[in-house]
């Protein structure tokens, strides 16, 4: 176990050093990512200023919600870079996964360190900015419980979206064609929960409640922290289901991952 952790650090070190070798490309990437996120939010802010609020959510409250997802997804994208399905699929076809199997080190740790997309730091930073703007636009009455719960909410989202990445990566063992479906779920899911769930049509909200229970990751914890009433009348436990949803998703996806590995058919010469 200690050996595995040390190796994780060393392998990450390799990734970081490799990226910093291409300094210009790295900073351009960083800049581009940061700008994209800023633009996305600016367009949202413009719309919100027109309307002041949507479905009872003020500009500040939406920023709070949006910022949380941005931060969590950014961290996930950083930590789970190696599992990014598109990228991982390429590595499989290139034979990298063979090399991973040939080393006496935990497979998952090696895949995690296939990449460490530092440019996501821009996304995280902008996310923090938006989150702070949100905090200033809302009158949250902070309690110790709320403060304590916040990191768990972020962690749950990291686990949840990380799990989706792992599922997508596993699918590439069989096919790279269906990968788009998974990406729609991952990126579409994170986009959807960046906004209050009450703005969506019923069928979409039900999908993200009963089939992919993403509503508990962000929306319900936000209701709790912002002291907003629940329009859907769920039991009062609902805001605290986030860690459960996150951990179960990650656990199931890792089980699927292990299953996928046993079905891996090394290709190429």
């Amino acid at each position: 176990m200690r050996h595995t952790l040390t190796l994780y650090r060393r392998l990450l070190g390799v990734q970081i050093r490799s990226q910093l070798q291409y300094r210009v490309a790295f900073f351009m990437d960083l800049l581009a990512t940061g700008l994209t996120v800023c633009l996305e939010f600016a367009s949202l802010a413009l719309v919100l200023q027109r309307f002041q609020h949507i479905r009872g959510w003020t500009m500040g409250e939406v920023a709070f919600l949006y910022g949380m997802v941005e931060i969590a997804f950014g961290i996930m994208d950083l930590v789970f870079s190696g599992f990014d399905p598109g990228r991982f699929g390429q590595e499989v076809r290139r034979g990298t996964f063979d090399q991973i199997l040939l080393r006496p080190v935990n497979i998952t740790v090696q895949v995690l360190t296939l990449d460490f997309a530092l440019r996501r730091l821009a996304k995280i930073t902008v996310g923090i900015g938006i989150f702070i703007v949100g905090l200033q636009g809302t009158m949250i009455t902070w309690t110790p419980a709320k403060l304590l719960y916040l990191p768990f909410v972020l962690g749950s989202m990291v686990c949840f979206f990380g799990g989706l990445f792992v599922v997508g990566a596993t699918i590439t063992f069989w096919t790279v064609e269906s990968i788009e479906v998974m990406n729609i779920l991952t990126y579409g899911g994170s986009f959807t929960i960046s906004y209050p769930m009450s703005i969506y049509p019923d069928w979409l909200r039900r999908f993200f409640t009963y089939i992919v229970p993403a509503i508990f990751l962000n929306y319900y914890p936000a209701l709790y922290i912002l002291d907003k009433p629940d329009p859907f009348n769920f039991p009062p436990i609902a805001p605290f289901l986030a860690p459960l949803v996150g951990l179960i998703t990650l656990a199931l996806s890792l089980a699927f991952w292990r299953f996928g590995i046993t079905h891996y058919q090394s290709t190429g010469t």
Partner: protein, 327 residues
């Protein structure tokens, strides 16, 4: 060290639809074609052997190596290497083998060679002094020094292969798998790598399996060869036996001192005549070269002669083409 019994590997290959709505039809209906990449192969390899695994492209060499190294799970048959079943106890198993795929690298693309090697030291938990010994030995033998500090992405193919060989052996594996280690290299680079392989086998006692379609690799390195084609093992034995069984055709070139109408001789065929020069073909099993020479010199006056050994390449080409080994 290696026991393989009735080994099979079949691949289901999807047949893709063509034309209109191909994507949708691919999703809905799938048709499969079965590829028997390895078909009922059995062999045993003892500790310390250096075995050549020979076959044309697509014969099933890499697939066999991938099963032996635990990358692929066999469709059928038994496989025990080093007392373990490769795909079942992966981490313990791979800690004691070395593997080089000629067309890939195990090194980190953007790192200088030396840093990749140091990282592998930690991956395999090689004690520091053992690592230093091995590194200096391999650096000398493979002449790594000029590019130890060059990133792997800037190495030539030959340099990269040398670095990969070093990387595969730093942890003193008992068993080394080399899949086409000389592919794409020039003559000099090939020769250097052959010498190194021979050294590792002789001096370190490492058991080596070497796949190749370059017959010179086999001729220079291996006493034992296995030939595979279409997934089936066609031959497993000494290189000399292979020669004796299949290359009856040595040639004797004779320069006659006079013009003869009839140059025939018992035990050999005349296959070419060019002025006073005659080419005989004879088989090892029917007559020796010295016997044939004495028969000819009793009948004719000879000015000069030469014996031409058939090369293994021609022999194996004959085996493939004439399907000599198929049952």
């Amino acid at each position: 060290m290696i026991q393989v019994h009735n080994l099979h590997k079949h691949f289901k290959v999807t047949r893709h639809h063509q034309g209109r709505l191909a994507g949708v039809r691919n999703l809905l209906t799938r048709e499969y074609r079965l590829v028997k990449a390895v078909d009922n192969v059995s062999f045993t390899i003892q500790t310390g052997e250096l075995v050549g695994y020979l076959g044309p492209n697509g014969a099933g060499k890499s697939t066999t190596i991938k099963m032996l190294t635990g990358l692929l799970v066999p469709t059928g048959g038994d496989l025990v290497v080093n007392g373990r079943i490769p795909h079942q106890s992966r981490q313990q198993y791979v800690a004691n083998i070395g593997v080089v795929f000629g067309q890939r690298t195990t090194l980190w693309w953007d790192l200088p060679v030396i840093e990749s090697l140091e990282l592998l030291q930690h991956v395999y938990r090689v004690p520091a002094d053992r690592f230093r010994q091995n590194l200096s030995e391999f650096t000398d033998l493979l002449d790594l020094k000029p590019f130890l500090h060059t990133p792997v992405r800037s190495l030539s193919l030959g340099q990269r292969m040398r670095a990969d060989l070093c990387a595969a052996l730093l942890h003193d594996p008992a068993l080394l798998f080399l899949d086409e280690p000389t592919i794409g290299l020039d003559v000099v680079a090939k020769e250097r790598i052959r010498q190194f392989i021979q050294h590792v086998n002789r001096e370190r006692g490492t058991t080596i399996i070497l796949t190749t379609h370059d017959l010179q690799d086999v001729e220079k390195l291996c006493e034992r060869v296995m030939i595979i084609d279409h997934g089936r093992l066609l031959f497993d034995g000494q290189l000399n036996d292979l020669r004796e069984r299949f290359d009856g055709r040595r040639e004797l070139l004779v320069d006659m001192a006079e013009a003869y109408e009839d140059v025939s001789v018992e035990g050999a065929q005349v296959v070419a005549r060019d002025g006073w020069q005659v080419t005989y073909q004879f088989s090892r099993s029917s007559v020796t070269a010295s016997e044939l020479i004495s028969r000819i010199s009793q009948r004719y006056r000879i000015r000069d002669l030469a014996v031409r050994e058939p090369d293994i390449e021609a022999t194996i080409r004959r085996i493939y083409e004439e399907r000599l080994l198929e049952t």
